[in-house]
Symmetry: C2
Subunit: 322 residues, 2 copies
């Protein structure tokens, strides 16, 4: 058993990362999207990092995985009573990580170190790491102009038609040392792309300067899990975006989003018919239940992913030997 | 009936300001101490302004007047779970004004305008105003070095012996236009120094460049209410500080803190014996219950203050005429 690097974000991505953590513990590093990061009230909000910390720390709400369990909204209500026009309903507990992050960043601690400190405080043995300590902002190019992804999600409620995405700052953002260390671990067993929106969760990570090259260079099998199940996104706007970008909404299309990067792709049992077409693109396929309702589901899917990585590695070694 | 300007801060000061507001409404301007302002998590905390807004807005806790009624501490508990070392227990609702203030100040709105906006939102007809839009920080000179008042209160729990006070920045801080306007109102009836710690609540206001001169210039009677009742501070550390500064703890000493500024002084009924000594300093005295338990008490004390102002004005006019 070796080490694992997961690229992740959102609730589904955090669930699979949690499955991998349950299998690998301290041998897992999770590289999280920060393209959705934004400032409100001058506070440093990192939604995907916080979702990951709540999930791996075992304190996420089962129903609303992006916030801590038992969340309340006393502060939000007070803000509105006092004239706030911010629409996003941020819970009381959900202000804690942004407040502490803001304070630490003002003391010039890098985001990666701040995030590792949160892991220790929450008793998370795996390493949660930002894709970069430099700012990268996902911009949605819509038929009505450019908006930040945060604004697109909250103010515009994902309404405008998507034409393309930009990852502002990605071309000069550096990969944190802690991420490079994980990628160059001598016993790296697999790189896992968790099920999450390809456009605003996974692609921003891949857009960080040199990331794609590093992922290929390190030689471990790259395995992705489909965020599309039965011709629709399990959650969020991935299906809508895929359609507006002119693509069919399918597991096969999701696989093609990572074309020339992934060696293996896990699709849901309901999409078994797509397996053939994906294999025709030179990608190994595993078919399994991908909807993670229980903690057991997370572990089971993580095991499918690691098994597929082993299969890919064996095939490649056989090809090289033959 | 004319207009009134109150200098104020802390819970007791806010209660008397509320009494004045109930008598004068929009004809009251309250100039509030900002020497205790501080940043935590990068947020702009203004404790005296917030206490004033909660009190005048009718949403202050009856038991803990520095915070909103029904306060909860969910965020505080979460911060500590996540490793925060801040000791002050800030409630969930109590983050709202600092968050909104921080946001507005980042947009370069002056603090006075931000505070007036909060008044409108809370339905407060009186004008709550900071003593300055420029930063002034009260520094406590202790036998163990210099500390900010905020640190003295929270981290050091008012333990170290006080040697003196500094009001850093006061010598270059400007009086806001809205305060000057209130002070130069043609129908100004009285200037009221509310019952509050002289050293870290009232003196910082008086230390703002030109403030003492303006208060004398505008010609209205200046009336203070004693923060000392029966040889001790009603609340807080005023008594301890008075003693450590080498003074007796008495209503008479409290009056002397405003020597050559005030025309009249209101002392509590239990301190009636001090009246003679204060009058000997050339200060008019009214004796009345000064402990404000009910809203009626606030109004009654405010009326005593305004009556004393009228007495002082009549005496001065008689002296001038005679």
């Amino acid at each position: 058993m070796g080490t694992v690097v997961a690229l992740s974000g959102q609730v589904g991505g955090a669930k699979l990362a949690d499955g991998l953590r349950r299998l690998r513990g301290a041998d897992l590093a999770v590289v999280v999207n920060t393209g959705d990061d934004h400032e409100v009230f001058g506070l440093a909000f990192s939604p995907d990092i916080d979702t990951m910390l709540y999930t791996l720390g075992g304190i996420a709400s089962p129903a609303a995985g992006w916030e801590p369990a038992g969340e309340t909204y006393v502060l939000h209500d007070m803000l509105h009573r006092l004239g706030s026009e911010h629409r996003v309903r941020v819970g009381d507990r959900s202000y804690a990580l942004p407040l502490l992050r803001t304070e630490a960043l003002r003391q010039e601690d890098p985001l990666s170190q701040v995030t590792l400190r949160f892991c220790r405080t929450l008793g998370i043995d795996a390493r949660v790491l930002p894709m970069s300590n430099d700012p990268v902002r996902t911009v949605v190019v819509t038929d009505n102009g450019h908006v930040s992804y945060h604004e697109y999600l909250t103010e515009l409620e994902c309404e405008p038609v998507v034409k393309s995405f930009l990852y502002a700052g990605a071309d000069v953002a550096r990969i944190p040392d802690e991420v490079l260390e994980a990628l160059y671990a001598p016993d790296l067993e697999a790189i896992v792309i968790c099920p999450a929106n390809p456009y605003h969760t996974i692609q921003p990570i891949l857009a960080v300067q040199g990331m794609r090259e590093r992922l290929r260079e390190c030689g471990a099998p790259v395995i992705a899990v489909s965020p599309i199940v039965g011709d629709r996104a399990l959650k969020g706007a991935a299906g809508k975006m895929m359609r507006e970008l002119g693509h069919e909404v399918s597991a096969r299309r999701a696989a093609l989003e990572y074309y020339q990067l992934i060696d293996g792709f896990v699709i849901d049992s309901v999409d078994e018919a797509s397996a053939e077409g994906i294999r025709a693109c030179g990608i190994d396929v595993a078919v399994a239940p991908t909807i993670m309702r229980s903690e057991d589901d997370r572990v089971a899917l993580a095991q499918v992913v690691l098994d597929l990585a082993r299969t890919v590695r064996a095939r490649k070694e056989a090809e090289r030997g033959g």
